[in-house]
Symmetry: C2
Subunit: 874 residues, 2 copies
């Protein structure tokens, strides 16, 4: 059977996204729903894939298929492509299965040449319109297809406006625009050494190629990488008959959302411009009007649009983002898609839709991207501090949140400064797709033009970054890196604060506070809790962190890193004294000094956790990490401990390791210096007993032996812990239950899990180290090759962010299977940073772990991701 | 059923070694063969295990069982234990399943007290003998059981000899010896605050305890560790009626071997002393006579002994090491066991016994310890250089080989100097078990006393170390660390050379040469080759090494490390230039300089290998390994390359890695710098083509991509290699087959072996790195905890020496299974250092690898080990 590469809109449906792309599938769906959509057809993503496998050329057969469909389109529209009296103009747009707004190319008004434009003039009886359309086409085609920078065309336009003494494009008349078109074509000839292609069919073929080519432009690739969009065939191409929003004052174009994408509130939200083409709204060149205004200008069209809004939402059961054009009073829909939204909006919409009976709780839970919750959890400005300050400017609250940082006016610099550890705010007249990396590097984004649906706004919401757009109080000089607000000059490096929820700009560093977790949020989380099978614990070393995590719903501590307790004040002194000890007696003396600190810390943790399980890992890092590195520090230490500088340096040298990651650390410390394990056990058990006695809190401490590679290491430490613990408990004349388990973080630990489980009561997968050793990637050194690996597609994702399921995952599955084979009630968890990453959590669910443990701020993310895992794998 | 803990000799047999120990089982076997053995019984190793699990106490029931057997012994001997007229004396000796000569304790002449000795006097009518036996007993018992140092008793003896004005013990009369006994008992009272135990039953119980206790003394533990003796229950204890070699001039004692243990020659070989107890021979205090002498002294006894020799050898089908005592002209055998022998002797005996029809070829192959072959392969003195020199002293050639080094007189210092990288020769009057570590650290051992069966001789042969004993030309002052030979003073640190095959000592550093591989050796190797299934390749980077390996029987190169080629002369310059390049062009220019060197090296290898397979690994180590470290070197390099010192230092800093083992190396280099892979591929393929053209040698180069963790890395490099290789081959207008495969050395590589095997034509297990990553042990850093791990029994063996079969082995098995599932003709090998270690080779055989690859000198070891693996796993 011959493969079909081109589909009329009538032939498609929304389920055909992967073949027709999102835009194509939805245009087809709308067409079939009877919604007014300008007719057209879609060239499939399979054609794109063929284009690439065929040396970046489309086979002739596909061109033939395109022209067949074009014929059908002509007869449907009763127009003729390339005809000089009754011409059909088309748009050529990209559209992949996942929306990649602004990343790929579009050509509008295609089908014009010097002859056809005369036909358009005659037909519309509007020469100015026709010339303007022609001008736009030449510019767009030359830019997208021929690769000539838009600036070059803008310069020509500016020159003519100056000559004519006018300010706006609209002030140019048909004669002026004809001159513009002439100069444009001269530029093309100059740049390409060829005439501008006059044959509309050739224009169409070249445009289709260009759209396919744009699938692999740098910014599209970057976008896919940032958004983890993999394994797509390519983009589809939509060829659609043109409708014109710029045919005069009864025409217009706009973008609207079925609900507010920033807050989620259920009202019809959008922006439009009369007498404009769609690009004018999105590009943020003119500031558009609110959708409510349309009700006044053309209530019939508004009502029709509102009706379509209701239809589409109840049909798609999701908030939609629609594009429309009004051509001489007649409404056309050009696009509908699932609308991007802030995390707050996502939560509110999901919860509301359940209450409206539109979707189930499961669907609601799947609607919210767990990672996006981060936006809701992070800080807001301290209202008291803020109330004392006066904002200096106000723009549109395009993406909520609070951002404080140093101003940069350049996306590249934003990147550079970020790498230097600075917090930056990117300030631009308007952003463009080239700014993507810089936006990602910034705390927040501030623009002087553009609306709520401008590039900056859409992208920032997607990134969960605070963003204020259309802040017209700013006068920005990007070239010289300064801006003026109220006559005040603000230069690169100055601090500002942005309130993305109100649109206010402050020339101060405003303190921030923890967010209030809203009612919708709490409700969604409670649904998540009812569906998820995984428990969610937190990695916390201090009572403060633990308290935050409990507030976010943590059900226990999965990892308390005891070494973090040794770095403060007097503790580090005692720690260093211990390390510098030459005899067992000296070492024990120093450890005795550390004991009360450890005990106090553990008591604090136990009190906060109030009976929830607490897993405490014994000392893990190599001892050299605790010694000073700077000459001055060494001298101070020598003086304090009354030993020679030489002795300290000797010890530093003797502790030096070639590969500390694989060195003398973890349980290897506890085995060579059993007195360390003894002291820590003492601190844990005494703390638990005292908290029990003093506060009547029953804690079951889970003592975790790190870096175990086999049963013998574990047994060695377990016996030591048991001896000390049981003795203390016996002397206390009360009872205390405690568990002894291990981290599985050395590949050999996973391989021998059956034997380790004979002794160990729980496993916690330390996936950070397990990733390092299984892949042979030193986390501190991978920056030298991992970027290249990502770029070359050798790896999909950074394995330190997202668990390497096909490598490390195999070891984890083995360990789970082997461990449970030996001990069927073995408690299993994960405490690497992957414990807070949704795709890794899905893996943990499938693998049958009991819990994940993550940093406090990721606890809600883990709760939602765990619910999604349970629903998706049901 | 009641467990039986004590066996009469008549109740045992040689197969009961693990229960009765080697000595006990063989005494039983001899008893049942009708060989004259003094009757006795054996307390089992299970009793020893019980002793330890029972808090180092033997349960009463076992004591009762002992005294029951003692009763039987009394009636058999018609003597009575502890009787003052007709007393039974016994020896109490250790004996584990594996021989541990001199490591555990023995008590002779037990059953004496002040009353019993009178009975012995009456019965033997030889008061001097009885008093001497009593003296020996008190000294030995007090030392072994009560822990009083022998020196203290020797001092008393010396004092009395001085008072009496005599030189030798034998010159003391019965009265003197009675005085000695009295003073000995006073010493015991002084030291223990208790009287010497007079009750013979108490003596027996205490002695049995002491022998069991000696199982875990430090030197026994060390011996087991050095000899990889694991998983034994403990030692057995043999209680045997005493026979006396010191009952006068018709009595005597000796040690003999059924064949010469140094050369393997088939003649009766041994030493004896008349009027002596066994300890006198072994301890090397008096220099014994050669066995031939016995023929003259007592031809009947000699013939009887020779008859027993023949019986035992044909019964055991192995060379035996026997102990005998002659009591007043009557012969008794006290022990037989498989005799320790040099590697040369082992080979000769094995081959001879096959020819004599005594054993099969399979048995012969199993008789030789593959590791011991090392002795035969290593250097001997250059005979020409040696012929020009005159030896300064001559001793007994106790263990063959050639050793050159600096003299030390102290075992601990031998250790220390070895750790400093020095080669040392340990010179002692005589060695004792405390010297074990120092002997192990030395190149060779030289003693002034002791015979061929002295401690030094036996241990050195076991270790395969060159040893000369009984070199009476030396006057050694151990305390002041010097010795005199021929009036010449030789001090610590001076160089000497020892020829262990002739017993000659030289005051020079004599050059050494490669060994001749003897006919027996070649024959045994040919048998090995006919049995083994594994092929044996070598790890070689130079034509010279490759040639040595081929001489030793290598069937190909399993690993050529190309980086080793970059360190010499001009090459390192070009390499550094490459690393310091800032642009691709500069880097390519520097690589072009390296290309001819690489090509030349490969041609050399291909020529030597003459059609045998050659596996070449692409560049593996991190680039910083090639940069200079010293300030001066950096300055020179800067001058040479005409760049600034700062630039070089910057590059060194930028290349620095926290964990280079897990860093930017292996295929990660080839992926980030594809031009390196390109240059190396070019060198390999061009070399193969040129060798084909010039010498008509058909080489199938096997190109190995290192450090692959998954299919994508491999694919990336494979495509690059194929592109370059196919282009060169095409241009050459001839044909060339080549393979592309990978090292499996990252755990993830093993886990994804099924996917990698889709692309890779061979796997070679790089077990060095695989061990590092699977265990999380940095080879360079493990010295900080691995000794402790070995000591605490957490690991049995150093995993870098002997493959960790229960950890790393699981990954290898997985990779083999997964790899072969995808590609059933996948070629599989191992090229880590484990490829030359017998137990690891056994694993490789069982796992179904095609070949092992090891360093040239280990090739014969691998051939034999592979044959043993095939036989043992048949």
């Amino acid at each position: 059977m011959k493969i079909k590469y081109v589909y009329e809109f009538l032939e498609g449906k929304k389920e055909m996204k992967s073949l027709l792309g999102g835009k194509g599938a939805n245009l087809a769906e709308m067409t079939n729903l009877g919604i007014p959509v300008p007719p057209g057809f879609t060239i499939t993503t399979e054609a794109c894939s063929l284009y690439y496998s065929n040396n970046e050329k489309l086979p002739k057969e596909i061109h033939e298929e395109v022209f067949e469909k074009l014929k059908i389109l002509e007869s449907k529209m009763k127009l003729k492509f390339g005809d000089s009296s009754n011409p059909l103009l088309v748009s050529v747009r990209s559209g992949a299965a996942f929306s990649m707004p602004g990343m790929m190319d579009t050509i509008l008004n295609l089908g014009l040449n010097d002859k056809v434009v005369e036909g358009l003039i005659k037909k519309t009886n509007n020469e100015r319109f026709a010339r303007d359309v022609y001008r736009r086409f030449i510019q767009m085609f030359s830019n997208v297809v021929l690769g000539i920078h838009s600036n070059e065309f803008e310069k020509i336009l500016e020159n003519i406006k100056q000559t004519k003494g006018v300010e706006f494009d609209l002030e140019l008349n048909e004669k002026d625009l004809r001159e513009v078109c002439g100069k444009y074509k001269q530029l093309v000839k100059l740049k390409t050494k060829k005439d501008f292609p006059e044959d509309p069919k050739e224009q169409l073929k070249l445009s289709i190629d260009a759209v396919f080519r744009s699938w692999n432009n740098d910014r599209a690739k970057l976008y896919r990488k940032l958004n983890n969009i993999n394994n797509l065939l390519g983009t589809a191409v939509n060829v659609q008959s043109m409708v014109f929003g710029n045919l005069g004052e009864t025409s217009g174009t706009g973008v609207c959302f079925t609900r507010n994408p920033a807050t989620g509130e259920n009202y019809f939200y959008g922006e439009f411009l009369m007498n404009a083409q769609g690009e004018d709204v999105v590009a943020g060149i003119r500031t558009p009007q609110k959708l409510e205004k349309l009700k006044e200008i053309n209530p019939d069209v508004y009502n029709e649009l509102n009706e379509i809004r209701r239809n589409l939402e109840s049909h798609y059961k999701d908030m939609q983002d629609m594009e429309f054009t009004i051509q001489e009073g007649k409404l056309f829909l050009l696009q509908t898609r699932s609308g991007k939204r802030t995390a707050a909006a996502a939560v509110k919409i999901a919860v509301d839709m359940v209450k409206e009976g539109l979707i189930s709780k499961e669907e609601a839970l799947l609607r919210v991207d767990p990672n996006s919750l981060d936006q809701l959890l992070h800080k807001q400005f301290d209202p008291i501090a803020k109330s004392k300050l006066k904002s200096v400017a106000r723009g549109l609250p395009a993406s909520p949140g609070a951002a404080v940082g140093q101003i940069v006016f350049d996306a590249e610099k934003a990147n550079l400064w970020k790498e230097e550890g600075k917090k930056v705010i990117l300030v631009r007249s308007e952003t463009s797709p080239e700014d993507l990396m810089g936006m990602n590097a910034s705390q927040g984004i501030l623009t002087s033009t553009g609306g709520m649906t401008s590039h900056a706004a859409v992208v920032a919401r997607g990134m969960g970054k605070c963003c204020i757009t259309s802040c017209s109080d700013l006068v920005i000089n990007e070239k010289e890196s300064y801006m003026i607000i109220n006559k005040k000059k603000i230069v690169e490096g100055d601090y500002i604060s942005l309130d993305g929820s109100t649109g206010e700009v402050y020339l101060d560093k405003i303190p921030t506070i923890d967010p209030e977790l809203s009612g919708d949020f709490a409700e969604l989380m409670s649904w998540a809790d009812s569906f998820r099978m995984l428990r969610v614990r937190t990695n916390a070393d201090t009572p403060k962190d633990a308290a935050v995590a409990v507030k976010f719903g943590a059900e226990g501590i999965g990892l308390c890193r005891t070494e973090h307790m040794f770095f403060e004040g007097d503790r580090i002194k005692a720690m260093r004294e211990m390390i510098l000890s030459e005899t067992l007696e000296e070492r024990k003396k120093a450890l005795d000094k550390l004991l009360p600190y450890q005990k106090k810390d553990f008591k604090g943790l136990f009190e906060v956790m109030n009976g929830k399980p607490v897993t405490i890992r014994l000392l893990d890092p190599p001892l050299h990490e605790f010694l000073p590195k700077e000459e001055l520090e060494i001298k101070d230490l020598a003086k304090e401990l009354k030993i020679s500088v030489e002795k300290i340096k000797e010890r530093i040298v003797s502790l030096h390791e070639q590969n500390p990651m694989l060195g003398h650390r973890g349980c290897r410390l506890g085995i060579t210096y059993p007195e360390i394990t003894e002291m820590q056990t003492k601190a844990i058990i005494e703390a638990a007993l005292e908290v029990k006695k003093e506060k009547n809190i029953n804690i079951i401490p889970e003592i975790m032996i790190p870096l175990v590679g086999g049963p013998n290491e574990f047994k060695h430490q377990k016996e030591l812990v048991k001896k000390i613990a049981d003795e203390i408990i016996k002397n206390s004349k009360t009872s205390l239950k405690y568990l002894i388990g291990t981290m599985i973080e050395v590949p050999r630990g996973a391989l021998t899990a059956d034997k380790i489980a004979k002794e160990a009561e729980f496993f916690s997968f330390g996936t950070n180290d397990l990733t390092q050793m299984t892949l042979g990637f030193s986390r501190d050194d991978v920056s030298k090759f991992v970027p290249k690996y990502l770029e070359a597609g050798i790896i999909d994702k950074d394995p330190f962010q997202s668990l390497d399921q096909t490598g490390v995952g195999i070891l984890i599955e083995m360990a789970v299977q082997k461990g449970r084979m030996t001990r069927d009630n073995l408690k299993l968890g994960i405490c690497g940073e992957h414990g807070g990453e949704p795709s890794s959590i899905d893996f943990c669910h499938r693998t049958g772990l009991d819990y994940v443990s993550c940093s406090p701020y990721r606890v809600p993310i883990a709760r939602l991701a765990a619910a999604q895992a349970a629903i998706n794998n049901n």
